[in-house]
């Protein structure tokens, strides 16, 4: 397990040294500007706009980082042959994959934490004080992190057998389809015959990102049910674990030419 930690720490360090967290500056500028602008033009919906904008930005920034770092996690190491000196040590291939996964998710958690501070700062600027319902923003942020977990595992899966470009296309496509997973399930319910089977299969196979998106509810100060939090947590952890297992199975058999 120590080796997983070392690989994760090195992956995290790579992201920091490659200035991935510089996106936080862009995020801070975007959010500060929006907060000032919204504060001046909105009447009584400042909070709604700031929460919506802030959480959507957190999600989008994270999705971009998860995909663009995740797709290169394995393929870049193979291409640059940095992997050779790692795997010639007492490091098992699954340890490498799991370490990479935790390193990237760790980066995204830190990233999300920093951006969350920005969201709350902007909220304080427009509302002048916090309300009890603002605590639901934390739940929305937690769900966003769960989305990142799934997305990181998918990017890593594709990276373990495909080129970075194809991996990016696959991961982004799944993110878009997964964001409409509830609609896909609705469509499956209305279809018949083979279409119904195919749509149902696809609806349950793709990650259900739409269930993890509660930004609208939180912006309207609606509470999130405890069972949804529990279900989403279990779902994201199980889905990511399965995808990581798939990545390990592929990588264990791969010739590092």
């Amino acid at each position: 397990m120590n080796r997983v930690t070392h690989i994760a720490a090195n992956t995290f360090r790579e992201a920091i040294r490659d200035r991935v967290l510089y996106n936080l500056i862009a995020f801070a500028v975007l959010l500060s500007g929006a907060a000032i602008f919204v504060g001046q033009v909105s009447i009584h919906i400042e909070r709604l706009v700031v929460v919506n904008l802030g959480l959507t930005a957190v999600s989008l920034f994270g999705v971009v980082i998860a995909i663009f770092i995740g797709i290169g996690l394995v393929s870049k190491e193979m291409e640059k042959r940095t992997l050779y000196t790692v795997l010639s040590r007492p490091v098992r291939r699954w340890e490498f994959i799991v370490g990479k996964f935790f390193g990237l998710t760790g980066t995204l958690v830190v990233n999300t934490f920093c951006m969350a501070i920005g969201v709350f700062a902007a909220l304080l600027y427009v509302s002048h004080k916090f309300h009890a319902s603002d605590a639901w923003i934390l739940v929305a942020l937690f769900f966003i992190v769960l989305q990142f977990l799934i997305l990181c595992s998918l990017a890593l899966l594709f990276s373990s057998f495909s080129s970075p470009l194809l991996s990016a296309v696959f991961a982004f496509s799944l993110f878009v389809i997964g964001s409409f997973a509830e609609d896909l399930r609705g469509f499956a319910g209305m279809s018949h015959g083979l279409t119904r089977w195919l749509a149902t299969g696809a609806a349950y196979l793709v990650p259900n990102f739409s269930a993890l998106n509660v930004i609208g509810q939180v912006a309207h100060e609606q509470p999130i049910a405890a069972h949804l939090i529990a279900f989403n947590t279990g779902y994201a952890l199980a889905y990511s674990a399965m995808v990581i297992c798939g990545a390990v199975l592929i990588f264990e058999r791969r010739n590092l030419k």
Partner: protein, 313 residues
């Protein structure tokens, strides 16, 4: 003890769009390297040297056969703590400094914190990078990267060290440093298995060498044994500019150089050639045996007519 043993180790890649076309990278390879030996693995580019090393490191999987390092199967993770590896033209995490990189590898090798700090410092000093310890690797030259590569390969005090083209791309000073390090490893009783196509280095360093070409083992043995297997030749030099007609029939290669003629011919024809020179009343200046070099052996083995070695050990 046997440090390395390969038993019918082979690798065939499936290539082409549908991956149905086989490309043989390594034909069944049988090799044994004793502990403490410096073993040179020679061959031209694309001969199968890197494939063999990748198979031994578990980076690619064999199509057939197996290999054992220090008596353990290469798939046994425990054996990885006993081996060091320097890939060809190594590339490392360039966002790390030399010190951070070595510390990272030391951690992955399971070294204790105290030992890690001591070894990393000592190794940076050993490879002449103490002053550059805190410089990011992206600012390193090729020679410096090679030194970092060597440092990471021997950092954890492995018993068997595998080096893939360790002198490749280095200047004469760099090559000398690598040779010194390999000699040091030999003195410490380590086994060194290295691939190269720089024959002078192999001749100077190796106890034994193997020649591989087109994925086939063409010969293996002690350098002296291998060079002595080449038909011996002699060099005759005499005064004058005339080349007697009979010499060509003896297989002599003659060249007129000013007032002398130089002829190189098989040792077996030496007496016949001397008889011709006596008959023609030509004055012999010198008769020198031509020493067979590893290069001659190598060129003979990688020539299109050469046949693979059978059951080479």
């Amino acid at each position: 003890m046997i440090a390395l043993e390969t038993i019918n180790l082979e690798k065939t890649y499936a290539v082409g769009f549908w991956r149905k076309k086989p490309r043989v990278a390594l034909r069944p390879l049988n090799l044994t390297v004793a502990e403490g030996e410096v073993f040179g693995f020679l061959g031209p580019n694309g001969a199968g040297k890197t494939t063999t090393l990748k198979l031994l490191m578990g980076l690619v999987f064999p199509t057939g056969g197996t290999a054992r390092i220090l008596g353990k199967d290469i798939n046994d993770p425990a054996i990885k703590a006993q081996i060091g590896f320097l890939p060809e033209q190594p590339y490392f995490y360039d966002y790390l400094t030399a010190k951070e990189l070595l510390e990272y590898y030391a951690r992955l090798s399971g070294m204790e914190p105290k030992e890690r700090v001591r070894k990393v410092e000592a190794m940076l000093k050993r490879v002449g990078l103490k002053d550059a310890a805190r410089v990011q690797l992206r600012k390193f030259s090729k020679g410096m990267l090679q030194r970092v590569g060597l440092a990471q390969a021997v950092l954890h005090d492995p018993r068997v060290v595998f080096l893939d083209e360790p002198m490749s791309g280095l200047d004469p000073m760099g090559r000398r440093e690598v040779r010194d390090l390999m000699e040091e490893l030999k003195q410490q009783g380590k086994t060194v298995f290295f691939s190269t196509h720089i024959l002078s280095d192999a001749e100077a360093l190796c106890d034994r060498v193997a020649v591989i070409h087109q994925g086939e083992l063409r010969g293996v043995g002690h350098v002296a044994e291998l060079t002595s297997s080449i038909a011996a030749k002699v060099e005759l030099i005499w005064n004058g500019s005339a080349v007697p007609a009979g010499l060509s029939a003896l297989g002599a290669e003659c060249r007129v150089i000013g007032e002398t003629v130089r002829a190189v011919l098989p040792e077996a024809q030496q007496e016949a050639a001397l008889e011709i020179l006596r008959r023609e009343r030509l004055r012999l200046i010198s008769l020198i045996p031509v020493r067979s070099s590893l290069e001659q052996y190598y060129l003979q083995k990688v020539s299109p007519e050469a046949r693979p070695a059978v059951g080479a050990r």
